[in-house]
Symmetry: C3
Subunit: 282 residues, 3 copies
């Protein structure tokens, strides 16, 4: 909050050397194009943008910063050339620290509430694979442009995990119920082409630059729209899902804590981490 | 109610000179085809069928009349050659009279409750542009046939207004959630062709006569259906949306009154009216 | 329950002469393919698989048996070469016995709760016509494969009946709202081709064997999915509809009893039965 207030004191045109200005936390970058007024929020946590406590807090802070700096919209993307976000960082859930795991889940709730409920137009430039939590971030935006040959989906059931209700309702707000249910049960990962066919993504672009340009074009469709009326309209449309989590934040946290501490879940995560290590050493 | 009771005393075959009978209030016409038993409800308030208090009351009364005269269905259309309805009459909202504005909004609620909840089959022959309130009327019907080269949509955000929840739920009952949300945020007007592609209208016709014939054909699909079972089925399917407004009529009215009296809204309406005047004098 | 416990004591490989094992109640057959672990539940009540009290109880018992015997999934089909199920047996509703009619409706509720809420993957091999209650069973499954030249739909309004809310919500979980509402109002029966086009069925097969193979293929998509995570995911997705009936079982029963005893409904059923007799004697 401090940061975003300071930012507002700096006139936009002055703050940029080229046509962009930028603030960086450790794990995210925010660049506001002063021509279009659109902010690009880049996730930058090598190697795979695993959503750990720090990255989630930085994403949350960046969204609040953008909301505060009067940007015209948010484009969410990744600095990684092949991965948008690999989803929740499994190291946060495997043999978790009692305090940290609570902060981690709370930060995830904060990110979703801020992104799904954002008052400005939001779009995802999906420049790489986007499983699980990565898909949650992308589907929380209003528009999705994806690069070819990647995959996206909520594959929780394949990892032996159950996605929380708000992951599911976000997914169901994009896909028809019949397809959403089937994909969630299957833990299905869609290729870019499949995602386009069912409407899980809206457009395909051949480069990150083109993806960002198409996202900017979508945000541009609101140029002649009253921003306050737009924000209130979006809020009203998403009120039910937002209120549901707001009302059940504590129960949702306790449910996750209980679940993640089940021996079977811990065992499953252990096996999964072992398989990742083997892959890495090949 | 009085009128519709009197009507029922007149045998249908006798009352018509040609094959149609007709009752007219000042701003609507009801013609019942005595061959098909289908009532055509025509909005007739020059120049653009702006929905003011009187037109809304006449539409409401006409729907009740049709429900009472045992018609087989309702076809809603316009006497204007290029406009179905331009939506809510802005003169009702700009510098409003304290009593009249309440009666106006209440009449709009009445029309929607009667049309969306109508026990008989309903279809709209959309023979002209259909923005905002015009789109609400069309989407409250069960079927839509539209003429080419017109536009339809809930463009409230472009006017700096927020559509009430029941406008949105009506719209969402026709379009997939993802498309409905985006269009509502954008205040998007769909061309006839675009509306057909996404399912916002069901058919395109090349003339008003053809549109009415196609609406009659749709209503004809219920010929072998038990009318009471049909009415109860429709009621059950639409119960949630209807109940929501019925439960919140007072709050919905107060919310509108509060909103419309905001200085920013009044200013916006003033600017809009000024731009209409300039257009008219060109 | 007894039966299914006994079954579990018999090692699967030993219990089969060919590659299938089978238990049969009077009106259903359950065959578990010991290669795939998938159970085929066949309705077998000549002449048309009319859902009477006994068939419903046998279907319910068979589902519970399959859930208990650790099968990998359920394929629901019919032994009749041209009819999947003709729906609720009208003889249960025409001049009903006071006790039996309550048991009948309760058994129908049990079947739906067990099938719609089943923890294992479910698919319907629709090898014949599937009106009303037959369509309910098919749409309660997660996947549908249908043979050509048959029809499927909830045609209650054509019979002067109103489908209960849970029939409708099951139907709406498969079709887009706009199409579901229209079809329910019309009592529309879809041909196989029409059903495929709107997504009411997922695939077409040219023989019962092929339909069952395609259902098995669908169930096979869960091979690498954690069964518990899958069951909890499905349960969460279907929780609202399931809870609604569970919460309103008694009211739903009383509503049906009241409705079925209306003179107009009894008269309608009588006329319908008379027409069936005439058809049969032609």
């Amino acid at each position: 909050m401090m940061r975003s207030k300071l930012m507002n004191l700096v006139p936009r045109a002055v703050a940029t050397t080229s046509r962009q200005m930028s603030t960086a936390t450790k794990l995210t970058t925010v660049q506001v194009d002063d021509k279009t007024g659109i902010a690009t929020l880049t996730m930058n946590r090598p190697p795979v943008n695993g959503l750990n406590l720090e990255l989630l807090r930085d994403i949350h802070q960046s969204i609040e910063e953008i909301e505060g700096n009067k940007s015209r919209g948010i484009i969410l993307t990744s600095s990684n050339p092949t991965i948008f976000s690999a989803g929740l960082d499994i190291f946060e859930m495997y043999k978790p620290d009692k305090e940290r795991i609570r902060a981690f889940w709370t930060a995830l709730q904060d990110v979703w509430l801020a992104l799904y409920g954002s008052s400005v137009p939001t779009a995802a430039a999906i420049n790489g694979h986007s499983p699980a939590g990565g898909c949650l971030l992308a589907t929380s935006c209003e528009y999705r442009v994806m690069l070819p040959k990647y995959t996206i989906g909520l594959n929780e059931t394949k990892l032996g995990i159950v996605a929380p209700k708000w992951f599911m309702s976000t997914f169901e707000s994009v896909l028809p119920r019949r397809l959403a249910e089937r994909a969630l049960n299957q833990g299905r990962m869609f290729t870019t082409e499949e995602a386009l066919a069912v409407g899980l993504v809206d457009e395909v672009a051949n480069s990150k630059e083109e993806a960002i340009a198409k996202c900017a074009q979508f945000i541009g469709t609101f140029a002649k729209v009253n921003p306050l009326a737009r924000a209130l309209t979006k809020q009203q449309l998403r009120a039910e899902e937002l209120r549901q989590l707001e009302d059940e934040r504590v129960q949702d946290l306790e449910k996750f804590i209980f679940f993640v501490n089940q021996p079977a879940v811990q065992k499953g995560l252990g096996i999964y981490l072992e398989s990742l290590k083997k892959k890495a050493t090949k």
